[in-house]
Symmetry: C2
Subunit: 469 residues, 2 copies
Amino acid sequence: MKKTVHSNAPAEKLYEQVYDYLLERIRRGEWAAHEKLPSIRELANQLDVHRLTVFKAFQLLKLNKKVFVKDKSGYYVLPDSLMLIDTQQNPIISACVYENSLSEIHQVKAEYQFSKALLDPNLLPNHYLSSYVKKVFDLYPKVLGTYSTIQGDLELREALCRYFTDEYYFHLDADELLITAGSQEAIDLAARLLVKPRDTVLIERPTYSPAIDVFRRQGADILPVEIHPYGYQLEQVESLMKKYKPRLFYLNPTFHNPTGYTVPPEQRKKLIELASSYQCLLIEDDPYRDIYFGQKPPLPLFSYDTTGCVIYIRSFSKYIAPGLSIATVACRHPLMKSLVKTKSLSDNGTPLLNQKIFLHYFFSERLQQHLEKLRIALEIRKNIMEEELAETGWKWSSPAGGFNLWISLPEAPSMEKLLEKSIEQSISFVPGSICDPLREYHSWIRLCYSYLNEQQLRDGLNRFIGIFR
Amino acid sequence: MKKTVHSNAPAEKLYEQVYDYLLERIRRGEWAAHEKLPSIRELANQLDVHRLTVFKAFQLLKLNKKVFVKDKSGYYVLPDSLMLIDTQQNPIISACVYENSLSEIHQVKAEYQFSKALLDPNLLPNHYLSSYVKKVFDLYPKVLGTYSTIQGDLELREALCRYFTDEYYFHLDADELLITAGSQEAIDLAARLLVKPRDTVLIERPTYSPAIDVFRRQGADILPVEIHPYGYQLEQVESLMKKYKPRLFYLNPTFHNPTGYTVPPEQRKKLIELASSYQCLLIEDDPYRDIYFGQKPPLPLFSYDTTGCVIYIRSFSKYIAPGLSIATVACRHPLMKSLVKTKSLSDNGTPLLNQKIFLHYFFSERLQQHLEKLRIALEIRKNIMEEELAETGWKWSSPAGGFNLWISLPEAPSMEKLLEKSIEQSISFVPGSICDPLREYHSWIRLCYSYLNEQQLRDGLNRFIGIFR
C-alpha cells in the first residue's frame, strides 16, 4: 500500500509500467493465489523489455506484498485480502473490481444506523413534496416523453445560476453548470476526465471514503493532506504541490465529512493562490452547506476563484430530496465542455423529470422555510448525541454543521471486534480507517446523528457504549 | 487509425506502452500542435528504456499520423482533427476527452430531425403516465426522501424477473438484475468493469456509435464484425475469437441499430457456443425488442445461455418513458456482484422515484395496450418514409422493427457537403461513417422515422431528396 500512497511519479518508469501490467493480470485472476508467475526471461521476451526491468517490477510486487518468492527464483501470487481481488470461479467472467468500502458497511442492516450519513426521511416534507410533483406534470405534460440535454435542463441551470450569484457571488453563466445524478457521479466524471494512471491527487485525511476509491480506480497516486479544526497546514500543501505537481486536490472544506471542520476564509483565498501557482485543480465538494447550526459558513472556494482552478460540486441529495439524486457542477470553459462530453458517454443526461421536480421544489419559499426547521431538528439530534456521549471520555470537536461526529476513542479497540459485536446487536457505524487514504485512524469512528430520531439516538448510543465497555 | 482497429495485442509490447504514454501527453496538450517533442535520448533516460524502444514508439506515432518529422531528427506534434484532442488554452485545465460523435450531430437544431433515434413525445400517453406518478406518491409517500439501493429497487427487480421469465424463459433471480439510468450507463459500466487498455473487443459493423466511443475510451482495440441481413458470418466470428481472444463482443442482434437487421435463432445458439468455447463475453444490447412490425422477434441470446457468457442490457427509455431513463442489466454471479460494485463508485443508485414510476407504469395493462398502438403508428411512419424514398433509387432492407432505415446512396456523395447543406435547410441525419468502427461506409446514411409525424416526414424527406439531387 505504501507505494500507492507515497510514490513520487511525475514520469512513469518502465519497470513501473511492467508492474502495473502484472498487477492488473494478477487482479484479474490470470494467475491465481499460490500460482507461479511466468519467468523473468519469458516476460522479458513477451513484453520486449530488458530482464532487469522485469526483475525490478518483481521486486516492487514483492515489496508491495503481491507476490512471494519460493524455490529461490520462482515468483508466486500472494493471497491477500487487501488486494482488492474479486476472485472469480469462472475465468470467462473474471474481472477486477475496485472496492467501495463504505458501501460494504452500508449494506449492513441495523436497527440503530449510525453509519449512513443520510437524512431521516421523516424530516422531509413528504406530503408537500408530492404536491410539487403534481405541479410539474401540469406544467410539463410531456416531461416523461422527453430526454434532458446532456448538460441538464436549461431552465434549472438558469435558476441555479441566479441562486449561486445571489447567495455566493459566483458570476456564472448557465453554460458553466452541469446537472448530474448526485455528487458521486460528479466526482467520478471529474476523475475520469482529469486523472490518468500515476497522476498525483491530493486528498484530505480523513475524507469521504468513496472519493478515495474513485481516484484509486483511475490509477491515481494519492497523497494525504491532514485537515485540522483550524483547516490545513498550508506550508505542507504548498510543499506537496511544489514537489509532486498534483493534478488536483479533492476537498470538502465546509462541514467536512467526517470531521465537521470548516476551513476559514483566509485559508480559502490562500489555497486558490497556491492552486493557481502550481496548476493544481481544486475539486470542492460541498454537500452540507445549508446544514449550519450557528452562523452561515464562509463562502465556497469557487467564490474566490478568478483563475478557473475550482470545480465546485454541490449536491442537493442529502437534505433536499435523496430520491431525486440531483447535484450540480460549476466550472469554467473549456473544462466544462470536456466534462459534458465525458458525461455524454456515461449516460444520456440526468432524467428530466427529476430536474423539473427539483427546480420547482428547491426554489419554493416553503422549502427555504423548511430548511430552517431542518437545521433546528438536526442541531437537537447532534446535542442529544453529544449528551449521551458526554460521560464516555471519548473526544470530538463539536461540529458547527453537517451530519456527523468524528470521535477519537480513548485507546484503539480491536475495530473488527467492535464492529462485529455492534452489528450483532443491530448497530452500525463507520470505522475511521475507511475514511483514511492511509487506512490508519484505528482509534477513530464516525457516528451519524441525522438518520435516527431522538429516542432511537438515545437507545442506540446506550447500547453502543455498553458494547464498547 | 489502422493500428487502433487492427492491432493484435494480447501482450502489450514495451514500445507500445511508450507510445501510449506519449500519445496521452500529446492529447493532454503537454506538447501543442507543431511543437517539438523531447529527443529520443531524453525520453529514453526519463522513462528508463532503451533508445530503440522510444524510436519504435516514435515510428508508430508517425505511422498513426500523430507526429511528423522535421529537420531530419526532430519529431513534432501533427495538428489533426481526428486526434480527439480538446485543445485547451489554459494548461491548468488541459484534459483529454474522448469524443462522442453522435452526440455532436444530435446537438444540431433542425426542424426535420432524422438523426436522433427518439420517439415522438406525442406518441406517448402523457396524460395517462402522469396519473401513474400520482399513484406512486400515494403508495410511497416518502419516495423522494429515500435513496434506492445501488442494485435497484427490489420490488422492481422482482417484477422484471417475473416478466423476463414469462416472456423469454430467463429463469432469473432478482439478485441477477441491476437497474441503471438508461442503457448508456449499462454499456459504460460493463466496459469499465471488463475492458482494460489493449483488450480486444468485437463490435458489429455498423453499430451504435456511442458504444464505439465507450470501448475506445477504455483503451480497447476494436475489431469489427460485419452484420448482414442474414446475420453474421460465423466462420469470421470464430476465427476472430480464435486469433485475438477478445474480451467481449458488443452486439445488438434484434432490430439492430442502424440497419434494422435481426440475427436468426440458429445463429444465436451457435454464437453462445462460440462465446463459451473462446471465453468471450457477449454484451447483448436490446433496446427495440417491443417495436416489431410483423411477428415477434426471436428470443434474446440470454434465453439460450447456459454458461453465463451473456450480459443482457434492456433499455426501456426509447419507447416507454425517455424522461425516466430506466434500463436493466441481467447477468449471472459473480459478474453481477462486480457490476454492482462498479456502479457504487459511479453513482449512488438509480433514483428511486423513477424506478417506482416505471414499475407501476410498465406493468399496467394500459401500457401493454399502448405498445400495440405504438407499433402500428411506427410502422405507418416507416411505410411513409419508404414511400417517399421509393423513387430515389436509394437502397435499403425494409426493417421488421426498430426506428431506423439504413440507406445506401447510389454513389458516395461528399457527406460533409450533404450534411452542411441539410443542416442549412434545417434537416439532420446520421452519416454512415459515424456508425462504423472503421469510419468508412461513406455512401450510407441512417434516417430515423420515429421522431417526426407523418406530414413532417413527407415534407422533410422531399426537401432532403431535393438537396441530394
